[in-house]
């Protein structure tokens, strides 16, 4: 386990690689998604997984938490879930004649917010605000959340009855959206033939401690991005804004997220500088959930984003 207080970049690099290897033992046949999720964690962002039930969203979240030694809580969002159920509540203690704060499930390193869109907007925004600020205010008192703090939200694209889909402005708080999709035949066969995921999950070993994760996040912020690539990021963002087929373009926060994620991606590739490839690799995951196509267009957002990638010249 990687637990030195100040390990070298090469060490950190190795740690990340073995973490990814460990996760791929459990999540079979989804290397890109696994990497994007890790990238998201390393960038200090949060991750939205939108997919059908049963494709392994929970398993992915669980595995990541375990591998990175994160304390893990799961919150199942329902229509009657209240903000206090997430954040915590003060309860009167008759013995000491005081109110004692009982922290909610959000006081942890990794939260799986399952089926976000089932809860009421009030409850949703309680979570989203906590994600953004890394702190919550309950009864006038500000309490800081743990560091690292990583939220994996899931949405069910089908079965929309009685749900409150997150508006685009709220989705912006998630750094990436990852689609897991069905496993391919070979992976599915492995899944069927092998041990149960639950048992396997028990065997997963943590590869680093919390301090190392924080170190990693800090080291990644120092990855060099040249001016030429800042130009590239800007022209990508501008392309989404100038494209009439989108209702609106990407926000500055999206641009910052793109840079952060590209840095992490470069680090995961073993480099200390960002290349155009890193930006291209994370661009789709970062932009798709933040953009909305006009309805008269037949193409979906993913295709439009691909088009932008194909039409924007690399400086």
């Amino acid at each position: 386990m990687l637990d030195q207080t100040n390990p070298s970049p090469a060490h950190l690099q190795q740690g990340v690689q073995s973490a990814i290897g460990e996760i791929e033992q459990i999540i079979v046949g989804k290397p890109q998604q696994v990497r994007l999720a890790v990238c998201c964690l390393l960038s200090g962002g949060h991750c939205l997984i939108e997919d059908l039930p049963g494709v392994g969203k929970t398993t992915l979240a669980h595995t990541i938490a375990k591998v990175f030694n994160l304390e893990f809580n799961r919150i199942q969002f329902t229509s009657d879930l209240l903000p206090a159920d997430i954040l915590g509540v003060s309860i009167f203690d008759p013995q000491s004649q005081t109110f004692n704060f009982h922290p909610g499930p959000i006081f942890t390193n990794c939260v799986l917010a399952d089926e976000l869109n089932r809860a009421t907007p009030k409850t949703q925004s309680a979570l989203l605000e906590a994600m953004e600020e890394h702190q919550i205010t309950v009864e006038g008192q500000t309490r800081y959340l743990d560091d690292p703090f990583f939220v994996i939200g899931t949405q069910n694209p089908l079965d929309q009855a009685g749900t409150f889909p997150l508006p685009e402005s709220q989705l912006d708080r998630f750094m990436m959206k990852i689609n897991l999709g069905y496993p391919d035949a070979k992976a599915e066969r492995l899944l069927l033939a092998g041990e149960s995921r639950k048992d396997l999950l028990q065997q997963v070993k943590a590869v680093m401690d919390l301090d190392t994760v924080i170190n990693l996040q800090q080291a990644i912020q120092k990855i060099h991005v040249s001016d030429a690539l800042l130009d590239y990021v800007q022209s990508l963002i501008t392309a989404t804004r100038d494209n009439s087929r989108f209702v609106f373009g990407l926000s500055p926060r999206a641009a910052l997220s793109l840079l952060k994620a590209a840095r992490s991606w470069a680090f995961m590739q073993g480099r200390d500088f960002v290349e155009p490839a890193d930006i291209k690799a994370v661009f789709t995951a970062i932009s798709c959930h933040r953009l909305m196509a006009h309805e008269q267009h037949s193409k979906n957002v993913e295709d439009l984003v691909e088009e932008i990638l194909h039409s924007t010249a690399i400086p």
Binding site: H224, S226, A228, L229, R271, D272, F273, V274, E275, P276, A277, K280, L309, H310, S311, T312, A313, I314
Partner: protein, 663 residues
């Protein structure tokens, strides 16, 4: 301080301490060599003013109020007048300028005052050329110019806080850029003959050299001077050392102790019976403040603005106050004035009867004993050769009968003792004789191929008139046996006789010294001697058709326009958008190569994406290309790879790369 203030507001701002210190230092630098030219009290007052202003800027002293300053300024002006009894001219003008600048320091408050002071420093610096024009002064002024310009930058920088080294660099660049303009002005501004600003002889003091009279001890004072008297370039070979007698003032009148120049007349026709080969040479004469021009014994002609006097001394019409360059030819074997006038022969046979009785007696005895004049001359020379006469630089002090004391008791002397006694002996024996002073020998500078004649080469010798030979040069000093030249002479001389000089030193040091002297010689020839005549010759040799002053002015304007125009062009070119970097040119060349093979990179494709496409179509893994692309990405996107060696390697890799032909 703010940058966006209007210029007149900036000018009225109170000067800060840095500005005052910087401009004070500039003033000191501009003045430093002048402190030797000015009376002591002016130097003192200047230093006082600077210190007061410095203390004032630190808050230790108060500013002197105007009602005290105004009377003081008047008093300063009067003091300068009292010192010189004029305020016109070189020294008084400089003194007045210095005193008034010092007052300006005491009065200075604002940025505008400081600017005025900086420009006064520039002006003061230029005045150095009124006092001397040597290479040393030019070099000093160049350094001082950079210093003052740095000050100008310092006081005008506001929030920029440019590092001192950077300011020095900017100043040096500015001065450097002005050099071509300086050269054009130097070459093309029409020269006016004559010294600048009518500086007359009186105003040039302190020239060492031969004097108009000769008494024992005078030349030996000169011999410790290392100063250059003149430099000579010979056409052809340099004559032997013992032939190098540089003729100067001739002295025919004798008072019993001191030899004086006879009132001479202009020689109408040169009566040199030339027998030997002519030697031609060019002399660059340092200023001597006298009318004397030196030539190798005996010049066969004269030069412009000069005449030959009846004692065959080449004489200039005007005192030599500036460097003078002239070409002469001389004959080393000659017959001089076979038919000398009787008056002059009588004059050169005279001697005061009441002094040096023993010398006179000896001369008269020889006249009786020997049959011919030649025998008498030989008798005298053999006396110096065979008796215990010693050649020394520190001869004993002689009394009234100097010749008697030297010949018969002390027997220790320098060239003037020998020449003086010998000449007197000859006159006593009835042979017309005279003293010739000048220089003997010279030191050959093999670096510049010329002869250096120094003040230490000063010499005195005799000439006797023999009936069938005319004036014949006799050097009695040369008759003294070489083994009686006092040991330790070179130490006593320190920088003494030419034979003890540069040539005898460590070869490396000698070479450096010769090169330095050569540099000075070139400076004299090409810069100081660039007069009207030289300018005309230089310009006509250029072949640009510059012949008149009008042409020069036109050429001057064209030259200045060309230089400033080229500066403008350079700065315009530098402001152009940057050329694509080398590595971009290299990768574009490689991509062109790929394009010819049918692989075109899409603009949105990064290189490794493109590589994957190529490899798929080619059907093999191109590791070389991958490496090239990786290096390119490092150079372009990473930090610290835009180094020459990396780019060189990158260039090499991409030039060597070829697409393999697949079947």
């Amino acid at each position: 301080m703010q940058n966006n203030l209007p210029i007149d507001r900036i000018a009225e701002e109170t000067a800060d301490r840095t500005s005052i210190v910087a401009v004070s230092l500039s003033f000191l630098v501009a003045m430093l060599p002048h402190f030797f030219n000015l009376p002591f009290w002016i130097t003192g007052f200047t230093l006082f003013a600077l210190m007061w202003r410095g203390a004032q800027s630190r808050g230790w002293l108060w500013a002197i109020p105007r009602w005290i300053l105004v009377p003081l300024v008047l008093a300063g002006g009067i003091s300068v007048f009292a010192e010189y009894w004029t305020i016109v001219g070189r020294e008084p003008g400089l003194a007045l300028l210095t005193v008034m600048t010092s007052f300006k320091f005491l009065e200075s408050k604002t940025h505008r005052d400081i600017l005025i002071l900086v420009f006064l420093c520039y002006f003061l610096l230029a005045t150095h050329f009124l006092f001397g024009q040597t290479l040393y002064i030019a070099a000093y002024m160049f350094g001082a110019l950079i210093f003052i310009t740095t000050t100008l930058i310092t006081i005008n920088q506001r929030e920029e806080n440019i590092a001192l080294s950077e300011r020095l660099k900017i100043a040096s660049r500015l001065i450097g850029l002005s050099v071509p303009i300086m050269l054009i002005l130097f070459l093309l501004v029409p020269r006016i003959p004559g010294p600048i600003w009518g500086i007359t002889q009186e105003q040039r003091g302190g020239v060492t050299g031969l004097s108009e009279t000769m008494s024992p001890g005078e030349i030996s004072n000169l011999i410790t001077s290392n100063e250059v008297a003149f430099r000579v370039t010979f056409d052809g070979t340099v004559p032997r050392q013992d032939q190098l007698y540089w003729r100067g003032p001739v002295m025919a009148n004798f008072t019993g102790r001191t030899w004086l120049q006879h009132k001479h007349t202009e020689l109408k026709n040169l009566n040199v019976g030339q027998t030997g080969q002519l030697v031609q040479y060019t002399i660059t004469l340092e200023p001597n403040g006298k009318n004397w021009l030196f030539g190798l014994d005996i010049p066969t002609g004269i030069i412009e603005d000069s005449y030959m006097n009846n004692e065959y001394q080449l004489t200039s019409d005007k005192a030599v106050n500036d460097l003078k360059r002239y070409t002469l030819s001389s004959t080393l074997t000659y017959q001089l004035e076979l038919e000398e006038s009787l008056d002059y022969l009588l004059l050169t046979s005279e001697y005061p009867e009441n002094s040096n009785p023993e010398t006179l007696a000896l001369g008269q005895r020889w006249a009786r004993e020997y049959n011919s004049d030649t025998e008498i001359v030989n008798a005298a020379l053999s006396m110096f050769r065979n008796q215990e006469y010693i050649y020394t630089l520190q001869p004993p002090v002689l009394g009234r009968h100097s010749s008697d004391e030297f010949l018969f008791s002390t027997r220790r002397g320098f060239c003037e003792h020998y020449a003086s006694s010998f000449t007197l002996l000859m006159r006593a024996a009835g042979i017309p004789a005279r003293i010739v002073t000048g220089y003997q020998g010279g030191e050959y500078n093999q670096v510049g191929n010329y002869l250096i004649v120094r003040q230490s080469d000063a010499h005195a010798w005799s000439e006797v008139w023999l009936e069938d030979q005319g004036w014949v040069r006799i050097d009695p000093t040369a008759a003294v046996s070489p083994d009686r030249i006092e040991i330790g002479l070179d130490q006593a001389l320190n920088e003494g006789l030419s034979s003890f000089k540069i040539a005898n030193r460590n070869p490396l040091i000698g070479k450096i010294l010769y090169s330095w002297d050569n540099l000075q010689h070139s400076w004299n020839r090409w810069v100081l001697n660039y007069d009207q005549q030289k300018q005309m010759r230089f310009l006509s040799n250029l072949g640009l058709g510059i012949r008149t002053w009008g042409d020069m002015v036109i050429a001057l304007v064209i030259g200045l326009v060309l230089i400033t125009g080229s500066y403008w062009l350079i700065s315009w070119y530098r402001d152009l958008p940057e050329r694509p970097a080398d590595y971009e040119i290299i990768i574009n060349r490689l991509l062109k190569k790929l394009e010819r093979s049918g692989y075109q990179r899409k603009p949105s494709e990064y290189l490794h994406e493109f590589l994957v496409r190529i490899e798929k179509e080619q059907g093999y893994q191109d590791e070389d290309l991958e490496k090239i692309f990786t290096v390119y990405n490092k150079i372009k996107y990473a930090r610290g790879y835009q180094r020459e060696n990396v780019i060189k390697r990158f260039r090499q890799l991409s030039q060597e790369w070829r697409l393999k032909q697949t079947t």
